[in-house]
C-alpha cells in the first residue's frame, strides 16, 4: 500500500491533512486556506498544497494572482523537489504549493509521479501539510486522501453533497482494501462475498465483513481493522439550523452503524456571509474577520485536529 508517511523515518515529518469530499463547491479550498491561516497564527509551520489537479484556486483565495512556481514545474522536471516550489504567502508561517496552470500534467498523473509527490510531502519542513483535493472520487484524489494522516470530508447540508460523501467513503474504502494485506485473500473473499457466498445480498461494509468472516477469517479480520482505522472525519459546512448542527454526528453514526467504517465528526462551520465576501476580496476570512462565526468555528475545528491523526 502507499504508506510513505507511516514508516519510522517519517515520524518526525509534518502532519498531513487531506481535505476532500466528493462534491464540488462545498468549501474545501476555503476551509483549507482558513485552517492553514489558523494553524500558522498558532506559530506552527504550515504548507498548503493545492492538489485540486486541474481545478486549482487556493492561490486566488490567498491573494496570489499569478504564482511564479507551481506543481507543474515540479512534475515537468523544471523544479527538483517540492521544497523548491513552496511559495511564501502574506501570512508568516503559511506557505503554498500552488496547483495553478497544472492542468495538462496534473490531471493525468502517473502513479510513479504521484508516489514521488507523496514522499516529498512528508519531507517538507513543516508542522502541517494541508492537501486541498479536487472534487470527485478519482484515483488521484483517493490516493492522496488515503495517504494522509487524516482525510477530512467536507459536506454541505444538501442531499446531493451527503450522497457524494458516502460515495466517496465507499470508493476510498474499496481502494484501501486493495492496498491491505493479505491482498490476495481479501480479493478472493471479496469476490466470493460479492457473488453471494454469504447467503444474502451484501449491502454495506458491515454485511461485507460478516460475509468475509465466514469465508476467510484472516481476510475478515484485516477488513475489520481497515474499517476501524479508516482515519476519516466529516466537517459540515454552511450549517444554518439545529438539524444541520447535528448532521456531522449523524453521518458519523450512520457510517459506523451502517457501513461499519470509522468516520468521526470533526466539526461544523456556519453559513456566514463574510465567507463569500472574503473569496471575492481574495483574503481568508479568519485573517480579515477573526471574530466572525466562521472564524471561531474554524479555530474550534483546528483544536479538534490535535490528536486526530491516523496511525
Amino acid at each position: 500500500m502507499i504508506d510513505v508517511f507511516h514508516d519510522d523515518s517519517a515520524s518526525e515529518g509534518p502532519r498531513i491533512w487531506a481535505i476532500g469530499g466528493g462534491k464540488g463547491g462545498v468549501g474545501k479550498s476555503v476551509l483549507a486556506a482558513n485552517l492553514g491561516v489558523v494553524l500558522a497564527k498558532r506559530r506552527e509551520r504550515v504548507v498548503l498544497v493545492d492538489a485540486d489537479l486541474g481545478g486549482a484556486n487556493l492561490h486566488t483565495i490567498l491573494g496570489i494572482p499569478d504564482p511564479e512556481l507551481t506543481l507543474s514545474d515540479y512534475v515537468g522536471g523544471r523544479a527538483r523537489s517540492l521544497a523548491d516550489i513552496v511559495l511564501e504567502t502574506s501570512i508568516p508561517g503559511l506557505r503554498l504549493v500552488s496547483g495553478a496552470h497544472a492542468l495538462a500534467e496534473m490531471a493525468n498523473l502517473k502513479s510513479g509521479q504521484k508516489l514521488r509527490i507523496l514522499r516529498h510531502l512528508g519531507d517538507l519542513s513543516a508542522d502541517h501539510v494541508i492537501l486541498d483535493l479536487g472534487a470527485g472520487s478519482g484515483v488521484n484524489v483517493l490516493d492522496f486522501f488515503l495517504a494522509s494522516h487524516r482525510g477530512i470530508l467536507v459536506v454541505v447540508p444538501q442531499p446531493t453533497s451527503v450522497e457524494n460523501a458516502y460515495q466517496f467513503i465507499k470508493a476510498a474504502f474499496a481502494r484501501r482494501l486493495n492496498q491491505t494485506e493479505p491482498r490476495r485473500k481479501i480479493a478472493a473473499a471479496l469476490g466470493r462475498a460479492a457473488a453471494g457466498a454469504g447467503g444474502r445480498p451484501t449491502r454495506s461494509a458491515r454485511d461485507l465483513v460478516a460475509d468475509i468472516m465466514v469465508i476467510d477469517a484472516e481476510a475478515g479480520a484485516a477488513v475489520l481493522a481497515a474499517a476501524a482505522t479508516f482515519g476519516a472525519s466529516v466537517v459540515v459546512n454552511q450549517a444554518s439550523s439545529a438539524s444541520h448542527e447535528r448532521l456531522a454526528a449523524e453521518m458519523s453514526m450512520a457510517c459506523r452503524e451502517y457501513y461499519g467504517i470509522a468516520v468521526d465528526a470533526l466539526g461544523t462551520l456556519p453559513t456566514d456571509p463574510l465567507v463569500g465576501r472574503s473569496v471575492i476580496d481574495r483574503e481568508p476570512v479568519v485573517q480579515t474577520h477573526p471574530d466572525c462565526p466562521f472564524a471561531i468555528a474554524v479555530r474550534r475545528l483546528a483544536s479538534n485536529l490535535d490528536g486526530a491523526a491516523r496511525g
Binding site: 447540508p157 444538501q158 442531499p159 451527503v162 450522497e163 458516502y166 449491502r203 438539524s243 448532521l247 449523524e250 453521518m251 453514526m253 450512520a254 452503524e257 451502517y258
Partner: protein
C-alpha cells in the same frame, strides 16, 4: 412476566447492557431520528425496506427494554414510572459474563430476569430477604458459615433454574473463602 430482553437489543440501541433509562431514551430517540425518512444523514444510504426494518428493530428493542425495566421496578414494589427503581432494575440486567468472578451478580441477574423480588425468592426458599441480598452483593461479613451459604446458593440457583447450580455454588464458596479468609 414480560418478554425477556435479548442481548442484541442493546446492540440495536448501540449502548452497554444495563445502561440507565436516560441513556436508553437518548439512544432510542437519536436512532429514530437518524433512520427517519426525512433524515439527511441516511438519505441515499438506506432503501425504504431497509429503513423500515431498522426502525422496526429499534422499536422492538426499545419496547422490550423499557417494558422489562418497568416490570422489574414494579415488582420491587415501586411504580414503573419511578426512574430510580427503573434504573436499578436496568442495572440488574447487565449480563454478568463471569460466573466464577461474579457469582453474586450472576444470581442477581438471573433473579431480575426471572422477574422475582427478594421477598418472592424468600417465600420459596425460606431464606430471609436481607440474607439473600447479602448473598447477591457478596457482603461476606453478613453471611453464616460456608456450609449454610452453600445450601442457600444451591436453593436459589435451582429456583432460578440456573444451568449448573453446583458449579455456581462451588464458585461462590471459593470466592468467599479467598476474600473472607475462611479455611
Amino acid at each position: 412476566m414480560v418478554e425477556e430482553i435479548r442481548r442484541e437489543d442493546w446492540e440495536v440501541l448501540g449502548i452497554e447492557p444495563g445502561a440507565d433509562l436516560e441513556k436508553v431514551h437518548r439512544a432510542y430517540h437519536t436512532r429514530r431520528s437518524l433512520f427517519s425518512p426525512s433524515s439527511l444523514a441516511t438519505y441515499s444510504l438506506l432503501r425504504t425496506e431497509e429503513r423500515n426494518e431498522l426502525l422496526a428493530r429499534l422499536d422492538e428493542a426499545f419496547m422490550r427494554i423499557s417494558n422489562a425495566a418497568a416490570y422489574l421496578a414494579s415488582a420491587k414494589g415501586g411504580s414503573g414510572a419511578d426512574d430510580e427503581l427503573v434504573d436499578e432494575a436496568l442495572a440488574g440486567l447487565r449480563t454478568p459474563t463471569d460466573l466464577v468472578g461474579d457469582p453474586g451478580a450472576y444470581l442477581r441477574h438471573h433473579r431480575l430476569v426471572s422477574g422475582l423480588t427478594l421477598e418472592q425468592v424468600s417465600v420459596e426458599t425460606k431464606v430471609r430477604p436481607n440474607l439473600l441480598e447479602a448473598i447477591e452483593r457478596e457482603t461476606w461479613r453478613l453471611l453464616p458459615a460456608p456450609v449454610f451459604v452453600r445450601g442457600f446458593v444451591l436453593q436459589v440457583a435451582r429456583l432460578l433454574r440456573i444451568d449448573e447450580p453446583e458449579a455456581l455454588a462451588a464458585a461462590y464458596l471459593e470466592k468467599m473463602r479467598l476474600e473472607r479468609g475462611d479455611d
